[in-house]
Each structure stands twice: as C-alpha cells, then as structure tokens.
C-alpha cells in the first residue's frame, strides 16, 4: 500500500516531469542548448542505445565502468579489511601504520588521478588503482573501529575457552565487527563511483565518464543527461546489491535487535 508520503512523492515526481516539459517544450523558457527537453533526452537515449555514441553503445560503456568499479572495490576490500582487522588486533601494528595513514589520508583520492595516469596511462589499470585508493581507506578505518568496539567480555570468554588465534579472528572478531565493516563498505562503494567518474572524465577511451566528457565537448545536453542518469542508476543498483548482501550477512544481528 502506498502511504501519504508515497502519494506526495509520486505527485512531486509527476509535477517535476510536467514542469520539465513545460519549461523546455511548451514555453521554451529553458533553451535546448542549456538543458534538453524530454524529446531530446529520448532521442539521445535511443541514439546511444542503438547506434552508439563515443565509440560504443550505452550497455558496453556502462558494463565497462561497472567492471572497473567491481575490480577496484574487490581489491580494496581484499586488502582493506584484513589490514583493519590486523590493526585492530595488534596494537603495535596500529602504532606503526597509523602515522603513515595520517600522512596519506588527507590527500583526496581524486588527487591521485594525475599520478595514476603518469604511472599507468589512460587504460583500465590506472582507474583500478585510484578506485582501490579511494575505497581502501574507508574499509580500513571502519574495520579497525569495528574491532576496537567489540565487547571485551566476549573476547575474554572466547580466549578462556582456548580458542585458537585463527578461529578467534574468523568466528569472533570478524562477525562482531561486521556491522561497522559494512558501514565502511558502503562508504567505499560511494567513493569508488565518484573516483571512477572523475578518472574517466579526466582521461579515458570508454565508460560512462567518457560519454559525459564527449557530450560536454560536443555541447550535447541530451547526451549529458543520459550519462548522468546512467551514473545515478549504476550507483543506485550497486548500493542496493550491497544492501542485500549486508542484510543476508547480518541477519543474525538484525534478528537479535528485534
């Protein structure tokens, strides 16, 4: 059932579409050179969907970007979570790694883009590297915080039962830290998309950011809007996917909360 909020939301969206139509098509207050009309948007979408634009069809651009985000994100998780667990577990590791982190962290991930291009060129590897950098930091920090926030009695109980170190990490530490780990992953995913789009805007030969870049150079507002909608949809879909994984992984925790 749709509640009051839902109806107002639907009404808002309908009103916005009507306003869009009114401003661009009916009255022409907003010229097509500034913002596309619904018809122009539709034509651009059909063009890139069928004939293609900027060297490929929409699906191939989108899938390429998705692949890069998935790879960078995967590498970041595979390195960030273990490092965070280790720093949370071992105070010496924390003391040694923290200062290096303090030096590198203030540099925004996007600032690595020129260096990545110098090192690896305009291809995929430079993008995966910057995505990795941007997604790495939130996963490390939140994993670390997750381990540090675990109730001490739980660890002591496990230790008293003589749990070996590896089982301790796998069955006590990692699950107890997982709510915060997932918080970190959500931030990481967001950072991944921002970084990818920026990297593709700076220099690429394929991908959603490249579509945006070409459309900007061609002064093609319809295609710019198609590119932005695609970026939004990809971000939304991957976030929803991560949310599903989270609900599955944390089902024990959610049940306990209810």
């Amino acid at each position: 059932m749709i509640g009051r909020r839902g109806w107002i939301g639907l009404g808002t969206v309908a009103a916005l579409i009507a306003l869009w139509f009114l401003l661009t098509t009916v009255t022409g207050i907003v010229s097509g050179a500034r913002f596309p009309s619904p018809a122009e948007f539709w034509l651009s979408l059909r063009q890139i969907w069928g004939r293609g634009y900027a060297g490929g069809q929409l699906m191939s651009h989108a899938l390429h970007s998705l692949k890069l985000v998935a790879m960078g994100f995967a590498v970041a998780i595979a390195t960030g979570i273990p490092l965070g667990l280790w720093m949370g577990w071992n105070r010496k590791a924390e003391a040694a790694i923290n200062p290096v982190f303090l030096v590198i962290r203030p540099i925004p991930p996007l600032a690595w883009i020129p260096l990545a291009i110098l090192w690896l060129g305009l291809g995929d590897s430079a993008k995966i590297m910057v995505i990795w950098f941007s997604a790495f930091v939130p996963s490390v920090i939140n994993t670390f915080a997750g381990v540090r926030n675990i109730d001490r009695p739980m660890i002591e109980a496990a230790r008293m039962l003589g749990t070996p170190r590896w089982r301790m990490v796998r069955e006590v530490i990692a699950p107890a830290a997982s709510p915060l780990i997932f918080t970190g992953l959500r931030l990481s995913l967001q950072a991944s998309w921002t970084t990818l789009v920026a990297a593709e805007l700076v220099g690429a030969l394929v991908g959603v950011g490249f579509v945006l870049n070409m459309a900007q150079q061609d002064l093609y507002p319809g295609m710019i809007l198609v590119g932005m909608v695609t970026v939004g949809l990809l971000g939304w879909a991957t976030t929803a996917l991560l949310g599903m994984v989270e609900r599955r992984a944390l089902s024990w925790n959610m049940a306990a909360r209810d």
Binding site: V13, A95, T194, G232
Partner: protein
C-alpha cells in the same frame, strides 16, 4: 588481542618505525635506480620542488597563488551549500509537507556522484569560477541538508510542545527552538561538507579550470613532471588537513561553550 594499550613511548617508537620504513622504502627504491625518477621521484626531490614552487611559477602561477584561487572557489561553494542546505534542512524538519516533497527529489539525485555534474556545470556556468563552484556545491550540499534536517527532527518533543502551548509561531519555533537544538548536528554536517567540498574541488579542477592546484597538477602530468604532480598532492593534503583541524577545534570550542551554558 594484544589488549594492553602501549605506553606513549612504545607508540612513538612504533610510529617512528612505520614512517622511517615508509620513507626509507620510497627513497631506497628511487635513489637506487630500481624505479626511474620520472616514474617516482625520491622524497627529497619532491620536497625541493615544493620549496621551489613557493616562489617560482608553474602553469602561470606560483603554488601559493594556485592555492589561493582554489581556496576562493572552495569557500564560495561550501558557503553556498551551507547557506542553502542548513535553512532548507531546518524547514524540512518542521514542515512535514516540504519534507515529503523534497525527500524523493533528494533521494533520486543522491546517487549521482557530484563529479558527474561537471558537464552541466561547465555548460551553465563556464569553467572560470561558476562551474567549479557548482561542483563543490554539489559535493558539500547533502551533508548540510541531512544534518540540519536530522538535528531538527530529533529535537526533544517536550520542548516543542511547551513552545507550542505558549503559542509560538512557525518562524520563532524554527529560529529559537529547532536551530539551537540542531547546532551540534549542523556543525558535524559542516565538517563533513568541508571535507567533501575539498575533494570535489580537486576533481573539478582536474577537469575544468584554468587555474588552481588541480589545474597545476594536470599541466604537470601533461609534461611528465612527476615531482610537480606530487607537490600538488602534498599541498592539497596539507590544506585539507588544516581545514579539518580548524573545524574540529571549532566544534570542540562550541561544545565546551554549550556545556558551560547548560
């Protein structure tokens, strides 16, 4: 878990070891010639380039001048985001209808990375000041809005009821009840905004700008001057850190003051 916290001395020793290892590895790799200089210059070369750029211009300006023009755009963008986001958030926290109208729009736009506004920003406002300011705004706006909204929504209901019983009008309710109660949340949001805005600024300048640190880095990348690129990174990091420290101090100061008042 190694549960006993390290002493201050141990922390410093391990920290020093970490930094020394990091710098040693970096300078060892580069000075030994294992990694070509063009690829990764040794730390001392980056340091000397940094000092050199303080006075001699690159890409049309010295480093402080680039930083200055970056910072001006940054300040415009963040201030604009705060000036629109905070009042709108408070209003949404008070007027339910406004909340129901704005939230779906906001949720729809949320998934578009701020940097994806670059083409429209360039088309609408040009690449001088307007375009970058709009991108910084796009990055800094959401936390301002969300935190002001949350702060206003979670005001203690008793306060609102008491004020309502005394016949307080909408304007006074927002300014004298919601705003003061939401200040901690708003300030926390501003800090996040400031960080995201700085990040967006770098992105904007890499793509569309004719001055600023990001522009300097892109120019240096084009002419394969790795030391200059890294100088830009260091400068961006330092300014970002200063902004964060200042805002943290401001937040702590505010908290102390409010603590005393209460």
């Amino acid at each position: 878990m190694n549960s006993t916290p390290l002493t201050w001395r141990e922390t410093m020793a391990w920290g020093l070891l970490g930094v020394v290892l990091f710098l040693g590895l970096w300078s060892g790799l580069t000075t030994s010639g294992l990694v070509p200089r063009q690829f990764l210059p040794p730390p001392q070369e980056v340091a000397s380039r940094f000092i050199q750029l303080l006075t001699s211009p690159f890409a049309g300006a010295t480093l402080p001048q680039h930083l200055g023009s970056s910072f001006m755009r940054y300040a415009y963008g963040v201030l604009l985001a705060a000036a629109i986001g905070v009042p709108l958030g408070l209003l949404m926290g008070w007027f339910r209808l406004l909340d129901d109208i704005v939230t779906p729009i906001f949720d729809g736009l949320r998934f578009i990375a701020p940097i994806a506004w670059v083409p429209f920003a360039a088309l609408w406002f040009g690449t001088g000041i307007g375009g970058p300011v709009m991108i910084i705004f796009a990055g800094a706006f959401p936390p301002c809005l969300i935190n002001a909204y949350r702060g206003a929504r979670f005001v203690e209901p008793r306060l609102i009821e008491a004020a309502r019983m005394l016949g307080t009008g909408h304007a006074r309710m927002i300014l004298e009840i919601l705003l003061p109660a939401a200040v901690p949340s708003i300030v926390a949001g501003l800090r996040v905004s400031a960080g995201l805005g700085w990040q967006s600024l770098v992105g904007a300048e890499l793509i569309v700008a004719a001055a600023g640190v990001g522009f300097m880095m892109v120019q240096a990348q084009g002419s394969v001057q790795t030391a200059t690129v890294m100088t830009g990174m260091v400068a961006i990091g330092i300014v970002g850190m200063i902004i964060d420290v200042l805002l943290r101090q401001g937040e702590a100061w505010l908290r102390r003051r409010r603590g005393l008042e209460a």
